[in-house]
Amino acid sequence: MKLRRKVYMVAGYNTISMGTGRSEFHPKKPRPGLQDYIKEAGENVLSHIGGAKNVDECVIANFIASRYNKQANLAAFFPYIDPELTYKPCVRVEGACATGGLGLATGIKSVLAETADVVLVVGVEVQNSVKAVYGADILAAAGWYKERKDGHAHFFPGKFSDRAGAYFKKYGREKTRQAMARWYYNAIENARLCPTAQEFENQQKKLEELALTEPNPRMFVDHLNVYDCSKVSDGASAIAIVSEEGLKRCGISKNDAIEVVGLGQAEYDLTKAPEDPVRLITTEVAVKKALVMAGITRDQLATVECHDCFTIAAIMAIEAMGFAQPGEGSDFILAGHTSRKGRIPFNTTGGLIGWGHPTGATGVHQAVTIWEQLTEKAGNSQVKIPAGKPYAMSVNMGGDDKTLVSLVYKKC
């Protein structure tokens, strides 16, 4: 199935991904709240699309502010961004860490349904409101609640640690750990080029050595160390999804836009364990759907944003996307193919590990990064987009490979 109407993304914006690692961050000092991030991201997009008057609909993507910030009914924050958004149709979507991707999908569908020509999508999460040990309780809601009692204290690191353990057993530990460390190195290297990244100021010299720190099961999980995990982040990302008419209304040239050419969504039963712990099967399905809809092969992609909530997830995502055979994702990374100068640069602003993972914003941040790359607006983060490869892809995963949104984008 092809998209029945041209859909574009324009005017992306990311706030800083705030949390440990940023010099502005102090856990005991007042910080911006949910409304501040929403406003900053929303206002910046509006300023580039001719103002709120041009917006038909709004989508806010947020995983779980009701627990992190004691705040629900987030769609009603749009008039707070700009009074001209008052009385416009707004909706909030949620799908765990794929919330941002679902926000984009919702906006795309509004444009396709011709109920809107301009949709403002804002993804946001503010998670530093509680200590990580309590955040783990909140994030566990992305899994099945009946698994919480027997789950690990750090619920999702526990889930992916189990996957890493299974992967080590099947494909070998040493090389996999080296690839995980290299992934971390690449993530920080990319984040250092992006001023909004949480790891922008990271000055550690021996990154790979650090990333090879042995896991400490007594204090954390069996097979992952902290460098294998994305951090706790506050932040928002926003972008406008527009039709051809929307582009004209906003006065935006196609040179400043990217086209959405493929959308793949997939769900897996929340109450079931993964069919195969060393594969991300729902990711495979979503990516395949997106590529089929776009009518391209992965070899035509110039860059990819994948959901590296954990380094092991990145290795498995590479295999799920078909860049490497099962068990060979580590070789692909260690050969340098995913680095910013490699065959297919991944996560060019650091991904979840380097840029940050404000849960509800992540899917939108991926789209913003790709919009920056394909429109040559990525500043120091810019990678080469070869003329024969005008495509890019994002993969946004919710829970343990449960909710998936994959998008294929094309340079205009």
Partner: protein
Amino acid sequence: MKYEEKLENVTVLGAAGKMGSGILFLTATEMTRQKFLPVNKNREFVLYALDTSHKALSNLTTYIREQAWKFAEKNIVILRKTYQDRADLIDNEQIIRQYAQDLLGIIRPVTRIESAFDSNIIFEAISENPDLKVELMSTINKNNRNKPWFFTNTSAIPISWLDEQAQLNGRIMGVHFYNPPAVQKLLEVVKTENTRPELSYFVTDYIKNTGKIFVFAYDVAGFIGNGYFMRDILFAEKMVNELQEDFSYVQSVYMVNKISQDFLIRPMGTFQLVDYVGIDVVQFIMSVMKPHVSKENIHSPLVDQHLHELVKGGQYPEGSQKNGIFKYEKGQIAAVYDLRKKRYIPVSEFREECDEYLGALPADWQPWRKITRNPEKDETLKKYFENLRLSKKPGAQLAREYLIKFREIASDLVKNKVAFKFDDVNAVLIYGFHHAYGPINDYL
């Protein structure tokens, strides 16, 4: 009697004090851990928190609750397993709350010494008052049929003297915690010729189970920690006196503190550390050590003069620094107390002149916090000290002098049989005083 049986009934004397509260908390964590072991299912564990003031004991409960929450947060991975059978406890938060409740459940805040008459173990953490220590331990010993074991937190008084005075028959051992005990990793353990071996076995297990490390010290007044620190103060004071030939008193104090902090890359300068510990506490330790150290004069006129002016230092209950040799603003040194003018002189009035005289810090210098986290610490320190060695600036020269004395004090502690070996002195300085490096080193 087994280790866990001994732990069934414990008393902490001076439980509401700075050291006592930490020892109480650590002991409570260990007793709570024991309580959850299947083998101890039918045992009751009781921990008496003995102090003189109800108000202080009320504050102590708040402190212990906060510490228990922090401890549970840090150890949540293990605690989820501990509470695995409790179907009602699902979230980390529920488990943490329950743990804090269980830990507080074994503590009995009391003000009457009779509570200690049933205890098997007595941790003594009252002020460094030898007579009071003897009186309390002696009273408990006479009235307690369990022949209790005494573990004293004294940082200065010889254990054999306490043993003899309180007539404990070898049922005493020195277990000197560093402040704050809940955080500091290191303990100094002191046994006398009469100390019964069972006490050593017990304390070794206790230290291991509470996640601490220890060094043995000889039973010499001051042991390793204060044996070093008091002499460090006396040397700093000597340097102040020498500098006063060219500079004012406040300038000299400022410069020596700067040398011992910045040039030597320590967490705080010597005089700031005196304020942190409390000038009155330092005087007390010196007075306790003095009669036991015949060859040296462990006595500081500078300390006496401050106390004469009622300038005491020390900390407020919430942990912030009281004014002492220095006046503090937002935790930073803002002024130096002038003993002659009897008022604080702002550092801003003379800092520039002093800093100019001392000269810039040598190349490759890093602040203490940064260097302790630097994975290439040893290499960086080597380069820094080489630059310090080559520098002709007065600050670097004084720092070299200080470092040489630092090493001499440490060597003497081993030579004079206060410490068993150099590594133990280094361990005390690194883990107890949080220095970035030990005094016995190859840097200079």
